[in-house]
């Protein structure tokens, strides 16, 4: 019988075809270069912005002429998995989403749906990590399946987080010493922390005059790679090409107004394939979460995407 101390020889023989080639290192280098590029927000002249919006309208209109019937946007459907099913295609499955995930509405004009958790006191439930504030979300109820590295532990528990001037990890909802984690694929936009025995999700927001830091931009509050978008009273977009265009518009053309967040009568929900749904409060052309951005082109393009 082969003994454990022969394992290295055996493993090298049986995995001899698995070799780290130059392509992996090259990909790592490319990623490092991309990560090093500073976040920039481009201000666009009104004329150029209008020209791009008109181009988008023309593209959608032309497609409508060429295609007999433009497919109506389907609502993201979460398929259940039959016991014993073994196919591993890329369809979104309930098993892929964290427990208690939210599925965007099927209604043609979905009513307002917010995922920001309300507080019982003066402040909403939050965690502060490295000077960044995060607000607890109502869904999913447990994100332990998508947590990343541990960022620290709650060192300060206080009902008055705005009065704390320290740099410690702080919360008014997660208990002292509760672990705080990054969330896979969400960058600085979300964190997770243990609350009452569950790993709850928190979204990057502005609080007490603090929003983005340094050269951070909207991508530090709203990551790319969304799967579906829903704007209350307007509709839901889940066509991959449309979502990609809209997200590109949102992330590249939003004009930052400052750390003060505006409320709104509408909510823009952004759903990701890992089950996370982030929210922006919408008031006219303004979108708020970690501060406020203005992006009339995005709002217009969203309405156009729904109307086709």
């Amino acid at each position: 019988m082969i003994k454990p101390d022969q394992f290295k020889r055996v493993a090298d023989e049986t995995l001899g075809g698995l070799v780290a080639g130059p392509d992996l290192l090259a990909r790592a280098r490319m990623q490092a270069v991309q990560n090093a590029q500073p976040q920039q927000q481009r201000k666009m002249g009104l004329r150029r912005a209008l020209a791009m919006a008109m181009s988008l309208v023309m593209v959608i209109g032309t497609a409508a002429l060429l295609v007999p019937q433009l497919r109506k946007p389907a609502i993201p459907i979460v398929s259940t998995m039959t016991s014993g099913e073994t196919s591993l295609d890329n369809a979104l499955r309930s098993a892929d989403l964290p427990r208690g995930s939210l599925v965007l509405s099927k209604e043609p004009s979905p009513s307002y749906l917010g995922v920001w958790e309300r507080g019982s006191g003066a402040n909403f439930p939050l965690v502060r990590v490295n000077g960044r504030f995060y607000r607890m979300l109502t869904h999913p109820k447990d994100v332990s399946a998508i947590t990343g590295e541990q960022l620290g532990q709650v060192a300060v528990f206080t009902d008055e987080p705005a009065l704390d001037n320290s740099t410690a990890t702080l919360s008014n909802i997660a208990a002292m010493n509760a672990p705080v984690y990054a969330v896979s694929g969400m960058g600085q936009a979300a964190i997770a922390a243990e609350v009452n025995g569950q790993i709850r999700l928190f979204q990057r927001v502005a609080f007490a005059g603090s929003a983005l830091q340094g050269s951070e931009g909207i991508k530090d509050a709203i990551p790319a790679g969304a799967q579906a978008l829903q704007l209350s009273e307007v509709g839901t977009v889940d066509d991959p090409a449309a979502v990609s265009r809209l997200m590109d518009m949102l992330l590249s053309q939003s004009n930052y107004q400052g750390s003060r967040s505006r409320g709104g009568k509408q909510a823009l929900l952004i759903q990701y394939s890992n089950g996370v749904v982030l929210q922006l409060a919408v008031d006219g052309d303004s979108l708020s979460s970690a501060g406020t951005w203005v992006n009339p082109e995005f709002i217009e393009a969203f309405r156009n995407a729904i109307s086709k």
Binding site: F7, K8, E13, T14, L15, G16, A20, L24, S144, T147
Partner: protein, 175 residues
């Protein structure tokens, strides 16, 4: 003493050193990650991420500790992948490790594959110490440092792992 010790000192790791470390340990990282996860794509992602972190963090590596650093980062990433796919394992069961030989004519292939599958099926804690100690050749002290766990714990996990492997390979039972 590590072959790279002549290059590493008190300065952050350079691009040239990263290249050298990749040549020396890239395949080790990849194969260990694959042995942990059983998925080639994930193992490649882990390997890429390990060297990405090396590029971005530019740590000052103590001579002789470079491999431990790389394996520690790889292990943490493997754990992330492991945690994120737990529901698939619960529903579908753990995948059988696919053998990727360089030469189809491996002698005693069945016996060797059995050992690989047995290690793959070990509980996570034992598998980690097994891969670091037996596969990557770290001492119990180095393994303990990588895992942030007492050396005694490493020894006991190795012992349990060996017992489970013996039971599995002798009797055909799952570890």
């Amino acid at each position: 003493m590590s072959d790279s010790s002549q290059y590493l000192g008190s300065a952050p790791v350079s691009d040239e050193q990263i290249e050298q470390l990749y040549q020396m340990y890239g395949t080790d990282v990849l194969r260990m990650s694959y042995s942990y996860l059983g998925n080639q794509q994930q193992a490649e992602d882990v390997t890429q991420d390990v060297f990405l972190r090396l590029m971005e963090n530019r740590p000052v590596l103590k001579p002789g500790s470079e491999k431990s650093w790389l394996l520690k980062v790889a292990l943490n990433r493997c754990r992330d992948h492991w945690r994120s796919s737990w529901h698939k394992r619960v529903l579908l069961g753990s995948k059988v490790l696919e053998i990727i030989p360089d030469d189809d004519r491996i002698e005693d292939r069945i016996e060797k594959e059995a050992l690989m599958q047995a290690v793959n099926a070990l509980p996570q804690a034992e598998k980690e110490v097994f891969l670091l100690f037996y596969y990557q050749g770290l001492s119990t002290q180095e393994t303990a440092a990588v895992l942030d766990t007492p050396e005694g714990t490493v020894s006991s996990r190795l012992s349990r792992g060996r017992q489970k492997l013996k039971q599995f390979l002798d009797g055909g039972e799952e570890p």
